[in-house]
C-alpha cells in the first residue's frame, strides 16, 4: 500500500461514495453521447476551470510533456459558447453531428476535506458521416465538490496521450 501515490484519502470501490462518483461519471458520459449538452453544462460549477494542455514528446527526466499551453482553455462562458454553437444549424464540424462514445475506466477517487479528486482513464471514439472511427485517449483529472446528494465539477484536466492529435479536430467535448 505504501507504494501507491495518494493525494487524499482513498475512497475504495465498495463504498457508497465511490458508487455515487462512478454513477455520476457514467451519466455524464451518457449525456455527451446523447447530445444532452445543456444538462452536461449544469454539471459544472460557475468557476469551472477546464484545461486540455498540449503534450510534447520529452525525455522522462524533463517531465511528462504537458505544457503550459493548451489545446483547450475553458471557463463557464466559453464552455457555454461551445454548447450554444452546437445548437445552431451552422456548426459544420458537428452538423450533422458526430456519434461519440465516452468510456471511463480505472477510476480512482480520493477525498480531500469536502472535495474529491477523481482520476480516470478515458477513451472517446467518434465517427461521423460515413467515416471510420477516430479515437482520443488519455487521463482525466476532475475536482468534485458536493452539491446536495450529488456533485459538481469545479476543475477538469484532460491529459491527452497524443502529441499530434490525429483525429481531424477537437469538436467533441470531453
Amino acid at each position: 500500500m505504501s507504494q501507491l501515490e495518494t493525494a487524499g484519502t482513498p475512497v475504495l470501490p465498495h463504498t457508497e461514495l465511490y458508487g455515487r462518483v462512478l454513477d455520476f461519471l457514467h451519466r455524464e458520459a451518457e449525456m455527451l453521447d446523447t447530445y444532452k449538452f445543456d444538462a452536461w453544462l449544469s454539471l459544472f460549477t460557475d468557476d469551472i476551470d477546464y484545461q486540455m494542455p498540449v503534450r510534447t514528446t520529452r525525455f522522462l527526466t524533463e517531465g511528462d510533456g504537458f505544457e503550459e499551453f493548451g489545446l483547450m482553455s475553458e471557463n463557464r462562458a466559453s464552455l457555454t459558447t461551445r454548447v450554444r454553437r452546437l445548437e445552431t444549424e451552422f456548426a459544420w464540424a458537428e452538423v450533422p453531428p458526430s456519434r461519440t462514445r465516452h468510456f471511463v475506466s480505472n477510476v480512482i477517487v480520493e477525498q480531500e476535506g469536502e472535495e474529491l479528486e477523481v482520476r480516470m482513464s478515458f477513451i472517446v471514439t467518434r465517427t461521423r458521416q460515413d467515416l471510420d472511427y477516430q479515437m482520443y485517449t488519455g487521463q482525466r483529472v476532475d475536482r468534485f465538490v458536493p452539491d446536495g446528494d450529488s456533485f459538481k465539477i469545479s476543475r477538469r484536466r484532460i491529459l491527452a496521450d497524443q502529441t499530434v492529435i490525429t483525429a481531424t479536430n477537437l469538436s467533441v467535448l470531453f
Partner: protein
C-alpha cells in the same frame, strides 16, 4: 485556349500538360491536382524538394544548445543553436543508417547521439565519434565528411527561420522579395514577436492545397463560420470582411489587409493594445505605419504553405474582443492527409496580462478545438473526399471572383494591389506560382 508552350512542359501520364488543366488566368483549377497521387509525386520533388519552408522562430531556441524537431518541406529537421549561438538546420537523420538523431520535440544538448550504433555529433553538426572506430581501416571513416546533412540554404527574416533543400534556389531575401515589406508590418511592428508555447499539431484527412487555398480566403467566413454570426460573435453582414485590399507582391506570396466598413473604426491598428500601437512609428516607415493604423485583419501566405493570420475576435460570447497573431503551416503526409501546425505569436513587449487575454482568445477560437477553425477542417475534408473519384477529377473548381478587377492605384505598398478584400486574385497568383514550380508553361526542363 492556352498558348502552346515553346519548351518542354510537364505532362501527366495521360498526356495532359499541367497548364491545360490549371488555368489561373481563366479562374479554372483542375480538381485532379488536389488528390491525384501522380501530381503529388511531382510536388514532392518540385515543390517540397526545392522551395523555401518555415521551420521555427528564434524565440523557440533562445539558448545555445536549444533544439526543436520540425520539418523542412516534408523532411524531418533539427533546428538547433550551437554553442557559439549560430543556428543550423540538419536533416534529422544519422549519416550511418539514417536513424533520427533528435527524438523529442525540444531539448537542450551539447551533443546529439544516435541510439542505433552510437554515432555522436556536436550541436554544430560535426561528427565527433562513430561506433567501434578501431574496427575501421584506413580511409573507411572520414569524419570531416560525415557531419549531419544541413539544409542546402538556411535563412531568417524577422526571426523566422526558413530552409530549402535546393542549393540553386534564390536566396531567401530574394525569394521573399517585396513580401518582406509586409512581413515587417506583421512581425516587426513593435520591434519583434515571440512564439508563445509549443505549436498545436494535428492531422486532417485533406489534400494540403485545400487548406492552403483557404488561408487567403475572406468571403468563406460568413458561411463557414456562420455559427459565430448566430451567436453574435461576427457581424451579421455578409460583406463585413470585404473592406480592404488583396495584394500580390510576387513569387506566389499573397496577402490581404482588411478594415471595417466606412465609419467603423473598430478594425484598426491590427487590433493591438494601445501601448503596442504607440510603437508602430518607431519600427515602421510612414507608409507601413499607415497600413498598420488603418487595418484590423491581415492574412498572408509565404509561398507555398506558411501563413500569418492577424485577427480580432472574442474568445466567447461574453468576452471582450482581442487581437492575436496566428502562424500556420500545412505539411502533406500523403495526397489526402496533411499535418497542421499552429503557433501563437505575441509582441515581445506585450504585458503578462495582455498575453493571457490574447492566449485565451486564440485557444478558444483557433487551432484544432477553435470554434472558428474546427469548421474549416470539415470543409477541407469534404472537399478532398468529393474529389478523389475519376469523374470529379475531370472537372475544374471555380476561382473567378475578381477576374476582371482593376488594380488599385493608391495603395502605398509594393506589389499589385486590388481593392475589395473579397476576391480570388490571390489564390490565382498562388496557382500561377504552383505552375511555375511544377515545371509547367515551358519550365518542364527545370526539374
Amino acid at each position: 485556349m492556352t498558348a502552346t508552350p515553346t519548351a518542354p512542359s510537364t505532362r501527366l501520364r495521360n498526356g495532359e500538360a499541367l497548364e491545360e488543366i490549371v488555368r489561373p488566368h481563366e479562374g479554372l483549377i483542375s480538381r485532379r491536382i488536389f488528390t491525384d497521387p501522380e501530381v503529388f509525386e511531382l510536388e514532392l520533388e518540385r515543390i517540397f524538394g526545392k522551395g523555401w519552408f518555415f521551420m521555427g522562430h528564434d524565440s523557440e531556441i533562445p539558448e545555445p544548445g536549444d533544439l526543436i524537431t520540425r520539418s523542412c518541406g516534408m523532411d524531418p529537421v533539427v533546428l538547433i543553436r550551437d554553442d557559439e549561438g549560430e543556428v543550423h538546420a540538419f536533416l534529422n537523420s544519422c549519416r550511418h543508417r539514417g536513424m533520427r538523431v533528435a527524438r523529442v520535440d525540444r531539448d537542450n544538448v551539447s551533443f546529439l547521439k544516435c541510439p542505433y550504433h552510437g554515432w555522436s555529433y556536436k550541436n554544430n553538426g560535426q561528427l565527433l565519434n562513430a561506433a567501434c572506430e578501431n574496427h575501421y581501416g584506413e580511409g573507411e571513416l572520414v569524419k570531416e565528411e560525415l557531419g549531419l546533412i544541413p539544409v542546402a540554404q538556411l535563412g531568417s527574416y524577422q526571426g523566422l527561420w526558413f530552409g530549402t533543400w535546393d542549393e540553386h534556389a534564390p536566396p531567401l531575401d530574394e525569394w521573399l522579395g517585396d513580401m518582406r515589406w509586409y512581413m515587417d508590418i506583421i512581425f516587426g511592428r513593435t520591434g519583434g514577436i515571440e512564439i508563445m508555447g509549443p505549436p498545436q499539431i494535428w492531422e486532417v484527412d485533406t489534400a494540403w492545397k485545400f487548406a492552403t487555398d483557404n488561408f487567403t480566403d475572406n468571403f468563406h467566413v460568413f458561411s463557414s463560420h456562420h455559427s459565430l454570426v448566430e451567436l453574435g460573435m461576427l457581424p451579421n453582414n455578409p460583406d463585413f470582411a470585404a473592406y480592404g485590399h488583396m495584394i500580390v507582391p510576387g513569387n506566389g506570396h499573397i496577402l490581404h489587409f482588411v478594415q471595417g466598413e466606412p465609419g467603423n473604426d473598430h478594425y484598426r491598428s491590427l487590433g493591438l493594445s494601445p501601448d503596442l500601437r504607440e510603437k508602430f512609428g518607431e519600427f515602421l516607415t510612414p507608409e507601413q505605419k499607415g497600413i498598420a493604423d488603418d487595418h484590423g485583419y491581415s492574412a498572408g501566405t509565404m509561398w507555398p504553405n506558411f501563413h500569418w493570420l492577424q485577427l480580432i475576435s472574442a474568445g466567447d460570447m461574453e468576452a471582450e474582443e482581442e487581437a492575436f497573431l496566428n502562424l500556420r503551416m500545412e505539411t502533406p503526409i500523403s495526397p489526402t492527409r496533411t499535418r497542421m501546425w499552429s503557433w501563437l505569436a505575441v509582441d515581445k513587449d506585450a504585458t503578462p496580462e495582455y498575453r493571457k487575454r490574447v492566449y485565451e482568445t486564440y485557444v478558444r477560437t483557433f487551432g484544432p478545438s477553435g470554434i472558428f477553425d474546427q469548421d474549416d477542417m470539415e470543409n477541407w475534408e469534404d472537399c478532398t473526399r468529393a474529389n478523389i473519384g475519376p469523374a470529379a477529377r475531370r472537372y475544374t473548381l471555380h476561382h473567378k471572383m475578381g477576374l476582371n478587377r482593376a488594380t488599385a492605384t493608391d495603395w502605398p505598398g509594393p506589389g499589385i494591389a486590388y481593392p475589395d478584400s473579397y476576391g480570388e486574385m490571390t489564390q490565382r497568383s498562388w496557382y500561377e506560382q504552383w505552375l511555375t514550380a511544377m515545371g509547367a508553361n515551358g519550365n518542364g526542363a527545370r526539374s
